[in-house]
């Protein structure tokens, strides 16, 4: 037989369930994004998937936390590409400026560098990479927050 509950207590229970589960989920997501000592930011490839191969969007890729914008630049010979990472706004600067980072492109490439005081980091990609490999972009911060 199913129980019946006092309506007021049931409302309290439902609210508690709502608050505690969603706060625990949010905390889990915040901690996972932060990754404690080794934060990893993934990028959301929102665009440029057509009938052909994936193309790096002309407007760039924004990290899932919205704090870094990645752009793909071409140098004179078109073969050499530069991955430009720029921290966005005060929150982006506070997180990334002057911090060491490892940039990962799936299994293809891992490069370490340091964001400058303006929150910029440029990675020269002299190895031949398909743009599809750039869709696997991740940044891992190497040192703890100052």
């Amino acid at each position: 037989m199913n129980p019946t509950f006092d309506p007021k207590e049931a409302a309290r229970f439902l609210r508690t369930l709502r608050v505690t589960t969603q706060t625990a989920l949010a905390l889990n997501d915040v901690e996972r994004a932060r990754g404690r000592a080794r934060p990893v930011s993934s990028f959301t490839a929102l665009a440029a998937k057509g009938t052909g191969e994936w193309r790096f969007p002309a407007a760039g890729l924004l990290s899932a936390d919205g704090l870094v914008l990645a752009n793909l630049l071409h140098q004179g010979d078109e073969e050499t590409k530069v991955l430009s990472l720029q921290a966005q706004g005060a929150a982006g600067l506070a997180t990334y400026a002057l911090r060491g980072a490892r940039v990962r492109l799936g299994e293809a490439l891992q490069i370490e560098g340091v964001f400058d005081r303006d929150g910029a980091l440029h990675i020269v990609l002299d190895k031949a990479l398909s743009e599809a490999e750039l869709s696997l972009l991740e940044i891992e911060l190497l040192d703890p927050a100052p």
């Binding site: 019946t4 309290r12 608050v19 969603q22 706060t23 949010a26 905390l27 932060r34």
Partner: protein, 371 residues
């Protein structure tokens, strides 16, 4: 102005992206997220005692989340309802102004949910407290950031839950007109701004009417309803201020809803389904009671197990979450939970917890609804 623009626009582009995977209760998740950000859980080590509230930095972080996180931009902000040239940034800005920074007015001289939130924040002051602004209605945002700048962190999980609870109480009030407008499939910027903004009660009634109309139309959208369908829907769910269906249908709000439904405007049925699923639920009126302890919640969880709504290990998982354990701790090494997570939810812990919470809530609501 915006309303005039909405009336004349016929063909609009819409997002080609698939609907975002979104939770049952995006507003409660957002409240929990804000609580964690204010508490510095995204940047500070667990051992740190003090968090410095930097309003602009927090604003930027929240704004960027609203823009970049699909769960928020689709489910909470509803960027799909904004016609060009507005995009996700403009939608996030309007959401911030009209929900997070919307002053919450007092009723009968009682403290508002924003006053209660501000009081909780002030109670954690670790430095000088500015004088409280008397008589000025506070918004959720001002309650969080307009007072003390250094806080003793909400380190105990029940303290964090209480912060989240008070933010949620503010959002349940401040977000409601916005959510009701999205449920209608309309752009909040066009219906909630200015002196002729539509009131929340009218929006709720219009949603009830729309629901009745959809039922009358038997799921056949992309057309205008017949007179019979309109009248039957209006008889079941009248909208205050209008004597009959035709009067409502020919008014500004009614005609915008029908145009949307008929697919002559920005028809994208996510408005009716996704929003209903994520934030359509009306919060309980008597939401001012404190949160329950895990012990107080136990009879409800046991009842859910006995009724077969959840399995015994799932009861333990919920009890652990309500008792303040992290999700990882609460899952532990329980084989039943791990197997269920892997087999039925493809390893998506959030989906599992939300489903579990949803099953439990449904059981309690149904048990309570029985005479």
């Amino acid at each position: 102005m915006g309303r005039q623009r909405a009336k004349t626009r016929k063909i609009l582009t819409m997002s080609a992206r698939p609907a975002a995977k979104s939770g049952r209760d995006i507003v409660a998740y957002f409240a929990g997220h804000l609580a964690n950000l204010v508490n510095g859980n995204d940047t500070l080590d667990e051992a740190e005692e003090i968090v410095v509230v930097k309003p602009f930095q927090l604003f930027e972080r929240v704004r960027r989340l609203l823009i970049a996180n699909r769960r928020y931009s689709d489910g909470l902000v509803g960027v799909w309802a904004y016609p060009p040239p507005d995009g996700v940034e403009e939608a996030a800005d309007f959401y911030f102004d009209s929900v997070l920074d919307r002053p919450i007015a007092a009723r009968r001289g009682e403290p508002t949910s924003a006053n209660n939130l501000a009081a909780l924040v002030a109670s954690r002051a670790a430095g000088p407290r500015p004088a409280a602004a008397n008589g000025v209605p506070l918004s959720t945002w001002k309650a969080l950031t307009g007072g003390v700048s250094q806080l003793r962190r909400f380190k105990q999980r029940n303290e964090l839950f209480e912060l989240s609870n008070r933010i949620l109480k503010c959002l349940d009030a401040a977000n409601r007109p916005y959510a009701e407008t999205l449920r209608l499939g309309l752009c909040p910027k066009e219906w909630l701004a200015g002196e002729d903004a539509v009131g929340v009660n009218t929006l709720k009634s219009a949603n009830a009417f729309l629901k009745a109309l959809k039922a009358e139309m038997g799921g056949e959208f992309g057309r205008r309803p017949t007179q019979r369908e309109l009248e039957a829907a209006f008889a079941g769910a009248p909208v205050p201020g209008f004597k009959e269906a035709q009067a409502f249908a020919s008014g500004l709000l009614g005609s915008a809803i029908l145009t949307r439904l008929a697919g002559q405007d920005q028809t994208y049925l996510v408005s009716f389904d996704a929003i209903e699923a994520t934030q359509g639920a009306e919060p309980a009126e008597d939401a001012d009671e404190p949160l329950m302890s895990a012990d107080d919640a136990a009879p409800f969880l046991i009842g859910a197990v006995e009724a077969g709504a959840i399995a015994p290990p799932e009861r333990e998982l919920l009890a652990a979450i309500m008792g303040g354990q992290s999700l990882a701790e609460a899952m532990g090494a329980n084989l039943f939970l791990r197997r269920r997570l892997k087999n039925d939810f493809d390893g998506d812990l959030a989906a599992y917890v939300e489903d579990l919470s949803s099953r439990t809530a449904r059981f309690v609501a149904q048990a309570n609804a029985r005479p």
